[in-house]
């Protein structure tokens, strides 16, 4: 209950921070904002000084910053993002559309990273200091030092430009998924594997683990009954943190591979100074993180009801 309240406060603060930042951005933009907005509202041919003044009046673009900021935040609270300064379409529709594409990519990457990382990590953790453990340490350290865009670059050069196996960019067919998903998943798996490995090594050294072995359970039974749940707790906790990495990855990877998702949209909106779009996408990303963390809290508590994690 307490954590729910703090999550709601966090969500509210995130909204205010992004709202204020985008408001500052709106004011800092070069050019006459009122003319720009008016021309998007009424069409370029119909806009005149009176219309611009009406907009200026309505949005208090000239006036003192504080009341204008409060009004701006009020619009935000009602989820009124207005229209894109570039396409003129309602921001809400575009964001909903892009969110779908991004979620597909994020879920695929997360699933793939969970298939690669934790199994390797558990195997390494069962025999700390072994060949697999040392190899995994080197591999994951190396992978973590590779920025995602660099990984993307290498994959594009090798697989699509060099061998011509996969399309370098695009969206729609299943094969478009492969490169961006692998890029994102490798970065996530590098961390996943380390966490699973550390947790597994710690648990395998505990007395209850030895007791389970001693009472005659096979390795497999010990792992399934006593190991996995305990490994899962830190893993799930860190999945929440990894979501930040995932979102940042999405921003970069989507731009590199031309994936029509929210990260791609954000970069373009920043580039075009399309403030309402920036505001909406940033808000969706920030609130998504809070939501995921709340979910992670709930799952962790189910996995480990002792209230430790």
């Amino acid at each position: 209950m307490k954590s729910l309240v703090s999550r709601i406060i966090q969500a509210g603060l995130v909204a205010v921070l992004i709202g204020t930042a985008t408001f500052a951005m709106m004011r800092a933009l070069p050019g006459d904002m009122a003319w720009r907005i008016a021309s998007h509202r009424y069409g370029y041919d119909n806009v005149d000084a009176a219309a611009a003044d009406a907009v200026r009046e309505e949005l208090a673009l000239d006036g003192p910053a504080l009341p204008a900021l409060l009004r701006w935040l009020g619009d935000l609270a009602r989820l009124d993002f207005g229209n894109s300064l570039v396409s003129g379409a309602p921001v809400m529709d575009e964001v909903v559309h892009q969110l779908g594409a991004s979620l597909q990519l994020a879920v695929a990457a997360l699933a793939l990273s969970l298939l690669i990382g934790p199994p390797l990590g558990i195997l390494a953790g069962l025999r700390p200091g072994g060949l697999l453990d040392r190899g995994l340490l080197v591999l994951s350290t190396g992978l973590r030092a590779v920025p995602q865009f660099l990984l993307a670059l290498v994959l594009i050069l090798l697989l699509s430009v060099g061998l011509g196996l996969l399309p370098a960019a695009g969206h729609g067919a299943a094969r478009h998924f492969i490169l961006p998903t692998v890029t994102l998943a490798l970065g996530l798996a590098a961390v996943n594997a380390r966490i699973a490995r550390d947790a597994m090594a710690r648990i395998a050294a505990m007395p209850f683990w030895r007791f389970a072995e001693w009472k005659g359970l096979s390795r497999r039974q010990v792992l399934l009954r006593h190991g996995l749940r305990n490994v899962a707790v830190p893993l799930v906790t860190y999945l929440g943190l990894q979501f930040v990495t995932l979102v940042e990855g999405v921003v970069i990877v989507e731009s590199v591979f031309g994936w029509p998702g929210i990260g791609h949209a954000l970069v373009h909106a920043i580039f075009a100074r399309d403030v309402p779009m920036v505001q909406a996408t940033a808000l969706v990303l920030g609130l998504g993180f809070v939501l995921v963390n709340a979910g992670v809290d709930a799952v962790t508590r189910t996995l480990d009801p002792r209230g430790l994690a």
């Binding site: 995130v14 921070l17 985008t22 865009f149 954000l266 940033a282 990303l285």
Partner: protein
């Protein structure tokens, strides 16, 4: 959540990895500082006749697509990002240290307000914040510095707050206070030795994050603007010529990887 404080420092090969990391970082910095001194040249001078040409005496790493010396552009880029990153980490470290100590020592409302603010910032992906700040402040180096500082201070704040709270409650600090020593003495004698190694780790990690962020934004063309030599920007500029002049693309790629690997190793093992 993330705490490096309670992780065992002694791990097999740990010291070895740190030395390797320090050596890699030192190598990159030595090249950035001494490179242009050893072979004088201009990172901006163009000569289209030499576009994508191989190495020669005046340009030991060859030329890029506009006939600019890759050697000198790389040295320039290796000064720029680490410098911004260092400034951001220093600012963030000082801010995080001060506010973290304040929050832990004062407690109550001060602590609650600061922690809530840190939590809210933590919920924002760092790149997003940097992007927004960059959009408000178009002069890019200052924008990067400000945005990155804004992102990085949270980590220092959380680490400091946790360490200071534990240490302040320890019998040693209580004894020191009973003996009548002031807060400055307590900080120097008890808190700083506790915090310092953590700060170093978090600093190296923050540097890596910052350099990666600058390069990533450069690569998707929303960071530094051409013709500024910057690691990510150099890569994206040279990517179309990867087949004609692989050495050209390889230079910024290996420099970035080496620098980041060095910083990651220097920071030591830690999650996320």
């Amino acid at each position: 959540m993330t705490s490096i404080a309670h992780r065992p420092a002694a791990r097999t090969g740990f010291a070895w990895a740190r030395s390797l990391g320090a050596a890699l970082v030192a190598l990159a910095l030595a090249f950035a500082i001494l490179g242009p001194v050893l072979v004088p040249g201009d990172p901006f001078a163009q000569s289209l006749l030499k576009a994508l040409a191989g190495p020669e005496a005046g340009a030991p790493l060859g030329y890029d697509h506009l006939g600019r010396s890759i050697y000198h552009r790389l040295a320039h880029a290796l000064r720029l990002s680490p410098l911004i990153a260092l400034a951001a980490v220093a600012t963030a470290g000082a801010l995080g240290l001060t506010l973290g100590t304040l929050a832990a020592a004062r407690g109550g409302w001060t602590d609650r307000v600061l922690t809530t603010l840190a939590d809210a910032l933590l919920a924002l992906p760092g790149l997003l914040l940097v992007l927004i700040v960059l959009a408000i402040m178009p002069s890019t180096a200052t924008g990067f510095w400000l945005g990155l500082s804004l992102v990085l201070w949270v980590e220092f704040f959380r680490l400091t707050r946790a360490a200071v709270r534990d240490t302040l409650a320890s019998p040693a600090v209580q004894a020191t206070r009973l003996l009548g020593f002031g807060p400055v003495y307590v900080f120097r004698r008890h808190l700083w030795p506790e915090i310092a190694p953590m700060m170093l780790t978090a600093g190296a990690f923050g540097m890596a994050t910052a350099i990666m962020g600058i390069a990533a934004l450069g690569f998707v063309s929303v960071g530094m603007r051409a013709p500024t030599p910057e690691l990510g920007l150099m890569m994206v500029e040279l990517m179309p010529y990867w087949q004609e002049a692989p050495h050209a693309l390889l230079a910024p790629v290996s420099a970035t990887f080496g620098l980041l690997l060095g910083l990651t190793l220097l920071a030591g093992s830690r999650e996320t």
